[in-house]
């Protein structure tokens, strides 16, 4: 019942947190979301530390109304201060946050990067395409699968429920 309700209450309200340091990519990803007609709110943080601050509600992120917990984390790997791998490793050790869906979105095709991401508990691994059209397609698929089709866990609630 609860799930159906949640599903029923506009999926478009689920927040997506984008961890991305390249301002160009931020603009292009945002634009791709627009082109793909995805209306979910998109929050952007530009490095690993900031991502952790956001997720733990530190500082200005304490306001959960303004900065609610995301349903999906889009995580770049090459990040200043703390890498995507480090954020992922940290996240999976957090009792409250560990179930969060994390899609790695990066330009690295290195198998070591890919394998490590999955070892650390990534839900999915996507390589940023070069052409914008491909990016739009990817964002569409992403949203369709992870926001619409995928059954979501409870984040921040009782661990075993």
């Amino acid at each position: 019942m609860k799930r159906r309700n949640t599903k029923g209450i506009g999926l478009e309200r689920y927040l997506i947190l984008l961890v991305e340091d390249d301002p160009n990519d931020i603009i292009l990803i945002k634009r791709a979301f627009e082109k793909a007609n995805i209306t979910n709110p998109l929050q952007v943080v530009e490095n690993g530390e900031e991502a952790i601050s956001y997720l733990t509600g530190k500082g200005s992120y304490g306001d959960r109304v303004k900065y609610p917990l995301p349903m999906l984390l889009l995580l770049d790997l090459k990040l200043p201060r703390k890498s995507g791998h480090e954020v992922l490793e940290w996240l999976r050790r957090q009792p409250i946050l560990k179930r969060l869906t994390v899609v790695v979105l990066t330009s690295s095709q290195k198998s070591s990067d890919i394998n490590r991401a999955y070892d650390l508990g990534a839900s999915s691994y996507l390589v940023k395409p070069v052409t914008f059209d491909a990016l739009v397609e990817m964002v569409k698929g992403l949203s369709f699968y992870w926001i619409i089709l995928n059954e979501k866990p409870i984040i921040g609630g009782e661990p075993n429920e």
Binding site: N24, L28, R31, T106, S107, V130, T131, F132, D133
Partner: protein
Amino acid sequence: MKITERLRTAEAMHLAKALMFAILCLSVISASLSHPSADKKKHVLVIHSYNQGMGWTDYITQGIESALHSTDQEIDLHFEYMDTKRIHDEQHLQNLRELYRHKYRNCRLDVIISSDDNAFRFLLAHHRQLFPGTPIVFCGVNDFKDSMLVGHNLITGVVGSFDIKATFEVALQLQPGSKQMFVIVDKTLSGAIVKELMMKDIPYFKDVLQFTFLENLDMSEVLERVKNLSNESIVFLISLLIDKSGNTFSFESSSALISQKSAVPIYSHSDVYLGHGIVGGKMNCGDALGQMAGEMALRILYGEKVTNIPVVKKSPNRYMFDYKELKRFNIKSSLLPNGSIIINKPSSFYSEHKGLIWSAIVSIAGLLLIILIFSVNIINRRRAEEKLKKYRDHLEELVENRTRELEGINTELEAFAYSVSHDLRAPLRAMQGFSQALLEDYAPKLDAQGKDYARRMDDSARRMETLIQDLLEYSRLSRSEIKPKPVDLTSVVDHVLTQLEVEIKDKDALIRVDKPLPAVLAHSATLEQIVDNLITNAIKFVSPEVKPHIHLWAEECDTVVRLWVEDNGIGIAPEHHERIFRIFEKLHGIERYPGTGIGLATVKKGLEKMSGTVGVESVPEKGSRFWIELPKKEKQ
């Protein structure tokens, strides 16, 4: 005639004289050199008192000859045997005198050597008449007195002295405890002389030995006596050449007869008996005497004055023994005086096989030397091998180190390539994304040229992405270690065709594959990429108005499989057949046939990694046939 001319003539005459003299001298010298004058040959006459065939006399001859033959001097030796053992009367001597006078009247003798008393006495009496001025060397004269030479300054020689005392001493040494000495002697002159000499030595032994003389007996009597002698007895043989009854015996036969019967050892003063039944003694030996006389004669031949060569009073007597007799009477040869000569000694193994032993020793030594050489060789080789091994190990270490270094560099390069691809791609995405955004969002504000520019930016970014992608692929192939496995070519081709469905449809290409294709040894992902590149090229490089027709088939031989990819494309001029497989080589402008120039290089590299090859046959405007060869899958 002018003075100068005269002078000249005189000079010429002097010169001619001098020349003639020189020629004369030369001819004399050369004559003397080429024809040794007859005068140079020396004549030596040897006069023996006795006859040829008598041991003693023959020994002396041997000694004389060995001395005279030891020199380069050419010597003509004459021998005379007075034979006085057989006949010794005034008539005989008279006859000899006449004989020699006549025989040697025209021969200038340089030296005369005489042996024994009779010849010496004969010469002493007659040499002034027979051989005036010729020096005389005597030997073996037993009855010598200095007074004999008074008034004779051309005579010298060796006295035939006996060491009878030494012989008795050695007999006692060999047979300690002997008490009786039996002396056998006949009535001959020499026998009498020796006996007389012996009598002088007897007093030395008067306390030890009792002397008995078997003198002037019949041979049979002597034999009877010696047969029954006790073992405390010694026999000393002086001579028994004529017995009481007038029977004559030679030295050899007399001693042999007596020895045969004798119960005790026989000693003597003279080596004429040695080898014929006597044990031995300190002996007057003929060859040593002859040798000494010969040497004295040589000195005279070389010009030494006779008066400078004194008479040798002590003849070169030697301790001589017969091994057979020593053995017969059980006498140890270790008791013999030092330097003793032992005859009839059974030749030792060594002396009998001297040559054999030496050749064996030499060959063993040779073999040892060879073994030594080989051993040294082996040791050296081992050392060299060790050294080589050390070098090899060191080299291997170096190679390992270098490999590690290279691997490190490779890893670094790999990291570099990825980071480059990552970092290049971000701005590329931005270029492409924003140029597209420009075209989409700001189209109304851009004129045709602005739109064209934006489109070019977009195209360039896309092309660069392909380039990076291809480069990464090529470098990945270069680096990776590929392990070929059996791969079915049919499924590889099918898979590639499925992937290329869109392109095939776009170009309306017709693709025919002669199935089934055989299995090969390859790395399937790499092989797929190779086939993909070849088919993509076949589709791509056709004239715009032509519909691509592509034909794939395979040929098999013993060890390899060849896959052909034939197209009806634009073809490749023969001069470019090699170039096309090099990286970044392109034959066409980007506008007409876009590409990175990496595709065929990747094909070649991939095949190299799988022990395969690639090639092309092509006719421009007609089409190309690319082939790849791969090892055949081994039969199970």
